[in-house]
Amino acid sequence: MDDEMGDLIDPPEADLFARLTPEGQRLVPVPYRFLHASPLAEKTLSRLVESRPYRTTGYVCWTFRKPISKCCGPDD
């Protein structure tokens, strides 16, 4: 219990990177620094890794860019 609490209150500068799995360490662009220092951090990272190719699924832009109709000519 004490150990778990210790993990949760690790200061932000704790070396989280060193605690990642070898797979997690190879993934440079993942913002591991932003994961809070908890025993779940590695699992969270793994989920991020697994989901990376799918993150654009359901991509929603705040504005609708496609032309809804096409009545205007190119050279008016």
Binding site: T56, F64, P74
Partner: protein, 399 residues
């Protein structure tokens, strides 16, 4: 005990395209669509072949695959890609998977057209409420007549508390539709995303304001749905959402619903099939009819000629005006581009549009988020000649 080396340390570097930079092959030339920068560049089909048939191979291996006959050209190709920041050298390309281009949307209808003329008797509140129920997020209102400002205001007022994210207005010119009056409309209705005034005495174009709202006066007369269906580069959209949707769906009609000037519910006001009148039938029940979604899945890979066009995933299709009206899979009749010659039959839209964009500093193809990678925009030399007809294309490597 052996020491573990990081993955790929001993491997020769290979060229990897950024996941958002996707090559698309055409009959005569190809393009690389940069979905993040919302732009595209022409490339020769030889380079397309290298990128798609030899991915993840070191340059020496690719040169060997072509019997070292095109070593200099292949190096030039990769210099071109690097200079335009389409990719990077790395030793571990497997760490950079491609984008998943599955397209999904939670809305049953994503966009809608509402046509209005001087004989229309629409109940705007009812129509907009029903569009809200369907989750519609973008609406274009096309007023074919000389539209009084009060009518535009009443349409926008009906949408004031709805879920629409953007409303575009197309309206016939009247003296009261001044830039100032319309500017006030923009301020009052923040979801208004653009206004085009047709039949104006002179053309005028105002660059998008801080909120991205554009205002344009055009001299052309747009007085009926028959004016729709024009296809030219000004209507190309290079972004993830459109590119992904275009893989399996029709880029114009998918998740679209239209109410024409008489209140008939259609896929598109120019299509003959009506699914009932909005005064008698709810949009829900029109949408529930089996045929309503029949055209949604006709994608550009199924359409004659379009399937050989390099623009097929950035172009919005038209199913209303076809070269062969009897063939659902026929090319749009108002498209003048021939992918087999890589030429536009009518005056070249590219140069004019690009010139126009340069002038007002608001390029659709280069609407780049400031945070994105920097590109040397001034560099137009070398193999990246925009028409794609440069010397390298004529020296395409043969396997």
């Amino acid at each position: 005990m052996t020491e573990e080396t990081p993955a790929g340390e001993n491997r020769a570097p290979v060229f990897s395209l950024f996941a958002c930079c996707i090559p698309v092959r055409g009959a005569r030339r190809s393009v690389i669509c940069d979905l993040q920068r919302q732009s595209f560049q022409f490339i020769p089909n030889g380079l397309y072949e290298i990128l798609t048939e030899h991915p993840g191979k070191p340059i020496a291996e690719i040169q060997a695959a072509y019997d070292h006959e095109y070593d200099a050209e292949i190096e030039e190709y990769f210099d071109f890609l690097l200079r335009h920041e389409f990719g990077f050298w790395c030793r571990d390309p497997e760490r950079f998977p491609p984008l998943d281009l599955t397209w999904e949307a939670p809305e049953r209808i994503t966009n809608a057209i509402l046509d209005v003329d001087d004989r229309s008797r629409h109940d705007y509140g009812k129509i907009l409420a029903e569009l809200d129920d369907l989750g519609c997020k973008a609406l274009e209102v096309r007023c074919f007549h000389r539209c009084p400002l009060s009518e535009l205001k009443s349409i926008l007022e009906a949408a004031r508390h709805g879920r629409l994210r953007s409303i575009e207005l197309l309206a016939g010119y009247g003296p009261e539709l001044t830039p100032e009056a319309l500017g006030n409309l923009f301020k009052e209705h923040r979801r208004l995303s653009g206004v085009v005034i047709h039949s104006a005495p002179e053309k005028q174009r105002f660059p998008p304001d801080r909120a991205g709202v554009s205002l344009e006066y055009r001299t052309e007369v747009i007085d009926s749905p028959a004016c729709c269906g024009k296809i030219h580069p000004g209507y190309f959209v290079v972004d993830v959402a459109t590119f992904a949707e275009a893989q399996k769906h029709n880029t114009c009609l998918n998740r679209k619903l239209s109410v024409d000037a008489r209140g008939e519910i259609r896929n598109c006001p120019s299509l003959p099939r009506s699914f009932g009148n909005v005064r008698e039938v709810s949009l829900h029940s029109a949408l529930a009819q089996r045929d309503f979604t029949a055209l949604w899945s006709i994608n550009k890979d199924q359409i004659a000629i379009c399937k050989d066009c390099e623009f097929r995933y950035v172009c919005t299709d038209c199913r209303a005006y076809l070269r062969d009206a009897a063939d659902l899979y026929s090319k749009p009749s108002k498209c003048t581009y021939d992918p087999y010659t890589a030429e536009w039959r009518s005056p070249p839209a590219f140069s004019e549009k690009e010139k126009h964009d340069e002038e007002d500093g608001a390029s659709q193809q280069r609407a780049v988020p400031a945070s994105h990678r920097h590109r040397d925009e001034a560099d137009h030399g070398g193999p990246d000649h925009p028409d794609g007809h440069h010397h390298l294309r004529d020296r395409q490597p043969e396997p």
